[in-house]
Subunit: 280 residues, 2 copies
Amino acid sequence: MKFSIVLSVQQARFVAVAFKGNLEGNLAKIAGWGYDGVELAIRDPQAVDVEALVDLVAAYGLVVPAIGTGQAWGEERLSYSDPDPAVRRAAIERTKAHIPVARRLDALIIIGLLRGLVQPGVSQAQALDWTVAALAECCTEAAQSGVRIALEPINRYETTLINTVAEGLELIDRVGADNLGLLFDTFHANIEEPSIEDSLLAAGNRLFHVHVADSNRWYPGAGHLDFAPLLDVMARSGYAGFVSGEFMPRPDADTAALRAIAHLRSFAAAAGDRNRRPVG
Amino acid sequence: MKFSIVLSVQQARFVAVAFKGNLEGNLAKIAGWGYDGVELAIRDPQAVDVEALVDLVAAYGLVVPAIGTGQAWGEERLSYSDPDPAVRRAAIERTKAHIPVARRLDALIIIGLLRGLVQPGVSQAQALDWTVAALAECCTEAAQSGVRIALEPINRYETTLINTVAEGLELIDRVGADNLGLLFDTFHANIEEPSIEDSLLAAGNRLFHVHVADSNRWYPGAGHLDFAPLLDVMARSGYAGFVSGEFMPRPDADTAALRAIAHLRSFAAAAGDRNRRPVG
């Protein structure tokens, strides 16, 4: 089992000097703690020096399994389901702009809140139709570069568009693209899935990426989720992707990252994982 | 173990004829399914004919363990933490207006979202201070009638004011009233509590009332929560109150209510409950 953790490169936009220092310092710590990879949250790929990023990540022996795109929603309110066609178009173009970066890093592109949420005057069906059309267009272009896209079911409080794996699989069927799959997030699944294990199994070969946080969105081990059967289901179903930590920086970011990898590696070891790395 | 289910008497305000018919029809069904009591959601006690309500509930052999007050927030935005002192005063007076009804029904008063949520320009500390002051005033008046008040920890997405049992107990200490306790809701606990069982135990003799919904807010049995250990903890800790169903009407209200009581009674029976009633 390979583990990564989410890291934002967002401050690059604002403080160019702080960027490199913070990013490199964080990469050094993440590698030192025994993570195999780092999932990068990128608001706008145009603002990122990709070659420098590739070199820096490689220097610490890390890979980038996935790129998170949600900051474009959080900071700019770009979304596939906005009533304004110009905003929808911008969200699609932003997604496409990630493709060369994803190809260079051999990463997949995550679609979380970039699909948006149902806005006043828009029906749920219309918002889903726009989301299907946007993903179809983005997947077609991504396929030309061999890049995959992973749609994340998100709990009901954050959006009504795709809360469960079942809804995600139905939407993937509608899009009809082989390079579209699911990101399974344990925090959201704890709220939405009747059975967390069954939904993980149901994702099958459409399981492209996994986020782990405990039931309270703290690091794995801080809540009541049992990660042993979840990692076991992934191993048995042949999941070859990363298990990526996305959780609140509590009690602080470093402690959370360290405790997460220790907790997860203990189960991965028990599950007979051969690639266990020492936890520092 | 005694079981109840939430029923709104709200339509009384709008359709006086429909009110009695609906209410009586629902009470008949609820009693027929084997529930011991009915928890009543009341927006404004002034709009309710209490003696008629007492007679109607008694006619079906039911009791009223608790009165829910959240509709005053949902429909009128009354809250203890509003920046407008007139709104805070109205929320306090509305709470006090429930006291004679609660006394007559031998019910406790639930404070859920009537505490509100932190509004723009209000600090978390200020909102908590106002909540403490409001509860102190309401508890003092309720104590004179022997009425208890139960504060419900609610998950982070609905309010930042009291998400966990630990935060609830701390607030109860600040209020310093013997008639103030907690309502433990399994749906909220699944998101907020590091251990659901431990938090239930921690509530101790401050556990005044319990809401049950499964992890996905459907009826117990529709999600991944294990209710057996939860009912067992309640039994072992001497909880003498009601376990009250508050869940989404899915696939429909009747089916949900029937499946909930069947699921809960099966565990209560296993826990050696002597008051088991037949499930119809």
